[in-house]
Structure formats: C-alpha cells, structure tokens
Amino acid sequence: MSLDTVGRAESTPEAEQPYAELGLKPDEYERIREILGRRPTSSELAMYSVMWSEHCSYKSSKVHLRQFGEKQPEGGWPQLMVGIGENAGVVDVGDGWAVTFKVESHNHPSYIEPYQGAATGIGGIVRDILSMGARPLAVMDPLRFGPADAPDTKRVLPGIVAGIGGYGNCLGLPTIGGEVVFDATYAGNPLVNALCVGAMKHEDVHLASAKGVGNLVILYGARTGGDGIGGVSVLASETFDADGPAKRPSVQVGDPFMEKLLIECTLEVLRAGLVEGIQDLGGAGISCATSELASNGEGGMHVRLDRVLLRDPSLSPEEILMSESQERMCAIVMPGNVDAFMEICRKWEVEAVVIGEVTDSGRLTIDWHGERVVDVPPRTVAHEGPVYNRPMQRPSDLDALQADDARALTRPTTPQEIRETWLRMTGSPNLASKKWVTSQYDRYVLGNTVLAQPEDSGMIRIDEESGLGVAVSTDCNGRFVRLDPYEGAKLALAESYRNVAATGARPLAVTNCLNFGSPEDPEVMWTFAEAVRGLADGCLELGIPVTGGNVSFYNSTADTAILPTPVVGVLGVIDDVERRTPISWGPDGEVIYLLGDTAEDFAGSEWAHVMHSHLGGLPPRADLARERLLADILIAGSRDGMLTAAHDIADGGVAQALVEMALGSGVGARVWAPDGVDAATFLWSESPGRAIVAVPRSEEMRFTAMCAARGLPAHRIGAVDSGLGADVGRPGEQVLQFGDVVLTLAELREVHEATFPSYFGPALTV
C-alpha cells in the first residue's frame, strides 16, 4: 500500500480507517479528526491509537490519580524533588543524594510468554529509573499467581522467575525483595510487577523534555524491529478469553546485555554533561518518546523517521512508530555535543543516530524519505488524550461478603489442633519459603546489598563513606482490598510502611502499581476509586508522598476479575546501614516483645484462607497514627541499639513471624500469649500495627520505658532460648515452645521449604 502522507490525508478525507481495530472508539476517532482538521494519516492514527490506549493515556484512572497530587500538606512535600508525571519520582535522602524508584506492571505479556514477558518487564522499569539520571541499584518483583497446584501456574511461574533472574542477573542488578502470592483469581491472569530503585546526586537529576530549539534528537541502543507492535494497546487493553495462549501477538525479546551497555553508556553521557533531556522508550516506543519530549519541552520537534536504524528493513513508518523494541533510549543533545556523545556510544558499542531536532513550531512533524507522514500538536498525543469519568457502582455482593464474619470460623484450641494448624500454615503456598524463587536471583552484585529476601525490606547502601542507605518494601493483601477497598489500600500502605520501619529505616516516599479488572465494569471502577482514595488519604496521614507508579486494568479472565491488587511500595532512608535491624534473633537469651494490640482480626487472613477457604467479614481498620508510633519506636530501637531483631506481623500473624525469626537464626524460643488473648487469635490474627522484637536483656528496661513513655503497648511474650530442647524432651534440638505445643525448628524448616519444590520441581534451594 502506498505511503499515506499528510497531503494524501487532506485530499482523501473520506478514506476508511481501521481505528476500531486499533482500539479507538468512534468518538475518539472523531476527536482526532477535529484536532487535525482532517483525517489522520495512517502514521498519525497509529500514534494516537497507541498513545490514547488505556495503558499510555490513563484515560480511566486520571480523574482518580489526581488525588495523589491534590492531597498534600501545606506547602507541599518537603522531601519531593520530582513528582508524578515524570518517568519516576525523585526524593531527597540527604547528603546531596537523591533517590528514584517506581513499580510497573507487565502482566499480560508475562502470561503470553512468561520468560520474555517478565524479562522485558524488568528491562522497562530499569530504563525508567535510568532516564531520571540515576544509576539503577536494585530491583524487586511483586508477583501473583493462580493456585500453586494449577497446571497453568506450573507453566507460568517457573518461566516468569527464570525471566526475572535471567534479565536481572545478566544486567548486574541485585534482586532484593518481592512477593509471591497465590490466589484462584489470578489463574489465567498472573501479575508481574517490577520495581527498580536508583540513586544519583541532586545535580544529576534529568527530565524528559526537549529543550533548546535546534538541539538534536538522538535515538540510541538496540535497533528497531517489529517487536510487540501495538503491543501496548492490544496486549494491555484486551481481556483474555479462556483460550488465552491461543491468540499470540508478536512477543518482545529482551537483551539484558544490550541494556547493561545502555546503562553504562547513558550514565557516561549524562555525567559528561552532554544531555539536555532524556527519555526511555517503553510502551508506544518512538510515538511516546517523541511526543512526550516535544510536549514537555519547546513544544515542537521534527523527526526523519527513515533515519531510524532498523533490524527489519521492511518495517513501514506506522510500524516503526509503534514498535516496542526493547533497550532503546532517546536523548536531546546540543549540536556541538553530538560528536562527543557518539564517541561514548562507540566506546560502549551502542548504535546511535540523529533522528531529528527540537523546534518551536508547536508541532511534531515526522517525515518518511522526505514526505510528511505526521503533523500533529504533540500535547494532543502525549498529554491531552481522552479522559473518562467511568460509571461506578459498589459491588452488589459486598454487603453479603462483609456480613460473613470470619470470627465465627472454628479455631484450633487443643495443643494437637494448634500444632497441626501451625505446621499446615507454615507450609501453605503463601507462607512457605520462597527460596526456590529467590535462590535464582543474584542478591550480591554491586556489593551494596545490606538486606534482601526474606527480610522485611530490601536495603542497599548508596554511600560507601557515610553508610547512607535506603530500604524498600512492597505489599498488598488483595483480600483486604476486596472486602473493603478503602481500608484495604490503607492496609497495604501500612504494611509496606511497617516493613520499612522494622529494618530501622525512616519511610519517605511511596510508589504503587494498581492492578485491577476492567474499568468498563462499574463495580471494578468503584473498587479502584475507593482504593485510590484510601491510598491518597493514607499517604497524607503518614506524611509520605506518592512519587509515581502505574495502573494495570483489564486483569480478568472471561468470568473472573482478579482480587483488586494495589501493590504499594514504600521507600525509607537510614543514615547508617550498620544500624539495620534484621528479622533473625539470636544468639540467645533475648526477650521477645509483641508491640501493638491484638484483636480477633481473621477477615481476609491467611488462616481463614488456608484452613477454611473463607473470604468474608470486615478487615481491620488501619490506624495510621498507631503505625507512625510503632515506626518511631522501631526506628529509635534500631538507632539506639536496643533491638537485635524486629519483624513486622502480617500474613500468617504472630505464628508465622515467630517461625521466620526462629528459622532465620536457627535458635528456638519459648512463647506465650498475652493475658486475655485466646491462642488462635494470638497466633493467627492479622491485626495491623504490630511487630515482634527481640530485645537483649541489658536493653529491656530502656526499651519498655520508651514504649511506655510513648504509649505503645508492649507485651512480653517470650524469650529466645537455645537450650529449650532438653527441657521438653528434645535434647540437642532447637524448638519453638508454646504451652504444650512443641515444634522443632527442623520439622518447621522441612514443611516450610518442601512446598515450592513439591509444586515446581527440584531446585537448589538449600
């Protein structure tokens, strides 16, 4: 078919265009015609369709996400250097250091091709961090899967894990945390979220804007091929039907080696001061990069598309504009700096080519071999896409769901029942050891990993002289969100916040990835809106801003939507990583304190899920003032050396926290319940605002005095005791003893670690 130029578009106004196939609605197509005062060329249509897709335009979520910007303290957020709207937000962590982090989804591609989908998910988020001018320092991978024993999970999980490891390991970034959660609703729609954190000096922060008329636009990195053409709009905006894998669009393959070169090359050109503006190429490739850069800058840009280096010479201009080939970046460079820029690219064996220049024409014009194929106002492509106020409706089943009180479920009471429950919970897929997964990830590379899985947060050192570091955690209990999206989102935030504080770091900023079903379903939309409202309110209460994130809609299979899953990432700062608090207690003799109040909170708990396959009732209320107090105590305890260990209490309650603390250190303990709390509630309730700490006896007075003075309930619930085995007739063995219930660490470790290999085959997890 011959080239569809602007001239041709003007002369053939009535030509039929496949806008529907490209995912545009009739009124959206009409609006494009209005903006242009003519029909779009096929290249323009390609650009608008991909940039106005849900994934790129946030058309259904924008009206809600606004709250993240609007709900802020008087005078704004002191720590925030770059907020929402850029590739990733940036916060000031002191000493002239700035940190950027963001979590993004790659759910649908990872279902279609698990290895490459997950791998390119890591690649994409790393380029977002890089494009802020930061050196990427670590990644995390919050994952959700269908039931562990489902055949499709066996196909998807190993591939996704291998893909994350294959890319991250080869790229040289440590994986310092993540999540692996199983629930029936994720069958056929796994969630692959990827988080990256990076650091830079204040003066090195860069933005995605095309400043300086006459400056040149350089595309560098991998060549452009036919990868994931329309992937963004097609993959991210359509639901799977039962025969999911049957329809297979072209898949993007990642090249972590190229990405590694791209990182080193980019940091070198940035540090050499050769770059005025920079943008990664992610979803929507060149369409997104050129229109966003132009729209954020002088407002105009002229591009010669035929200059783009191609892997497949047969690509048409439309395809080049839509291509999602990985490992590409776009830089705005002064003419005088181009030679120096190219020299550094040559050093790193990275291909680069000037594809255009910055103008003040207010238009983005693109030529193909001298013929004009695009002539549009860039803002209308990048930032003035459609905005929908979608109908919302409270789920009709919510009242019934909330009325189905989990406190009515039968609880274990006899020592025998408690023992069996404890072992079964410890080995249940969501609580079992994730070593099968994490031992496939390099956590040591770069030599700055202070804490990694299975700790409460990943922690990395960013300044080797001062010991300044950051801690990051991601969390979300989707069952809480299902039962009450407003509280559930706050609870996800609270848990992530608590996990950061437990390591001794001060929470500073938030990122999030909102994984939901179809926005065209009013009940999903209501749930989404409530979750965003809860998150925005929660951030204001906790005093930490949302700096960025991502929305992933259409996470549903024909009949079911996934549990609403707003994954929340919290980043904290610690002045000296030497002061970190791990989850493993020991060596011996410390007293064990339970901080916070324990109520009969079984709604949405892991216990109700595992032992009763039950989901119902009202989740606990998030008391964020209490969370702040708890965090203060945990941070002070770490700073003043009053704690040998601390562990946040969440999925699986106190019982699970104790198991993880004991297995981490290999030392047993005797524990008992506080007065007036029944055994099952003590062990498996998931009341928020709690943590377990191990306190050396020498610090006990000081610590309890501090808690009393600050008004935080602290219950003495046990003591670390390596000699307990003998007392309970298990000489030479380490045991956890709770009244008449005795569990050896050996049997706990066995059930804890046997689960994943039993489902996903042998792997070296020892």
Binding site: G165, N169, P256, F257, L261, Y444, L446, G447, A763, L764
Partner: protein, 223 residues
C-alpha cells in the same frame, strides 16, 4: 601494589573486585577490554559477570579481547591472574587453565552462601589461608559445572592443583566437587564462587573472601 581489574562489556562484579582489592590494602587499577595496555599492574583479576551477554558460551567471546591477548602472554610468563566466575570461564576458554564450565546440572541459576574447603594454599591467591580451612562465600552462576576428562582430573588431583572444593552441597554438578583450580606454579587461579562478595560483614555472608586479595598482596610484597 597495583592489581588490575578488567572490565569487559557485560562485566558486573568489576567494581566489587576493585573494592575488595582496596579493602585488602592494594591499589585497584581499572583495565579496559579494548586496551592491550596493562598499565604496569602487578597482578590481574578477571571479574564475574556476563561478558558479551554470555549468550554463546560463558567467556567464549571475551577471550578474544585485545586486553586478553596481553594477559594471556604475560600470564604464561608468570603474571598472577585470578579469574572469578566469568573470569574462571574466560581462563578455561583461553586454555590458561584446563577443563571447562558447563550448565549447572539442575539447570537453574543459583545464588547461595557456599561452604568451601581450601585445599591448595601455596598459590599467589590463596597463601593467606590454612590448608583444609573452611570458608563461606557467595556463589552465583548458571554455568558453573566444572568438567574435564578423567586424565585431566587425575592430573589436577595428583599435582595438587585443586584450590578449593565444595562442601555440604555441590551447587552445580562440578566433577569431584571442584570449585577452583590453579596452574602448577600457582600464579593463575580460577574460582567459581565470589570472594569479592565476602569482604565486608555488612554486605556479605562473611569476610572469608578477603584472603584471596590479601594473599596476592603478601606475595607481591615479598616477591
């Protein structure tokens, strides 16, 4: 004492190796794959990573880098060289050490804290250890299975060229649990696990790895 650390495209643990040299009291010198000048260093570390992506075969392409031409020539005349992980693979591909490293027998990449027994402690890189000393340092590889024909293995054992052996678990199917080997004169050592990741208690499972770098500095000082 200057110890060079080579950076190939795709090297990942080069900064870590430099840090380890520094913490051991030496002066790390960055060497570039495309530059055949060794900048007067007294010894060289080939660091871990995925040189050239390791797509073809680990270390297969790196051995042709200009810097390797010099290193191979100088190593044959006694320049001390330590190859860690990808560096070990490069040494084998360059035939500076016998055998080869193949896909882990369990087919997964594995990252774990690995216990080793030090067996040859008179090399340039291991003289700070006691014979039979047990150490724990990180191991992280996808292709770390050491293989060689029986004759070669027997010769390595017979001549006492096995530097370190895996204890407790064999993490990658290496024949005879071999974790590291050396050339007869003890100047060239290849090791699959990562001593440079065990030089600070803060970031490693131990500081047991420091000995490799201290050893080289000892030897170079007394040389």
């Amino acid at each position: 004492m200057k110890i060079g650390v080579v950076t190939f495209p795709g090297s990942l643990d080069d900064r870590d190796a430099q840090r380890a040299v520094r913490l051991a009291g030496g002066e790390p010198v960055a060497l570039w794959h495309g530059d055949d000048d060794l900048k007067g260093v007294d010894a060289v570390v080939l660091p871990g990573g995925f040189s050239y992506g390791d797509y073809l075969r680990c270390g297969a392409i790196a051995k042709f880098a200009p810097v390797m031409t010099t290193i191979i020539a100088r190593a044959q005349q006694g320049l001390p060289v330590l190859g860690i992980c990808n560096g070990f693979q490069i040494l084998c591909e360059s035939h500076l050490l016998p055998g080869a490293l193949t896909r882990n027998d369990h087919l997964h990449f594995v990252c774990r804290d690995q216990r080793l027994r030090m067996e040859r402690v008179d090399t340039v890189w291991t003289n700070a250890y006691a014979e039979g000393e047990e150490i724990v340092i990180p191991l992280k590889n996808g292709e770390g299975g050491y293989v060689a024909d029986d004759a070669t293995l027997d010769r390595l054992e017979g001549d006492g060229l096995v530097v370190a052996r895996y204890l407790e678990v064999n993490p990658n199917g290496s024949l005879r649990d071999i974790a590291g080997i050396s050339n007869p004169s003890g100047t060239i050592v290849g090791l699959m696990p990562h001593p440079e990741h065990a030089v600070e208690s803060l970031t490693g499972p131990s500081t047991d790895g420091l000995g490799f770098f201290v050893s080289a500095l000892n030897r170079l000082v007394n040389a």
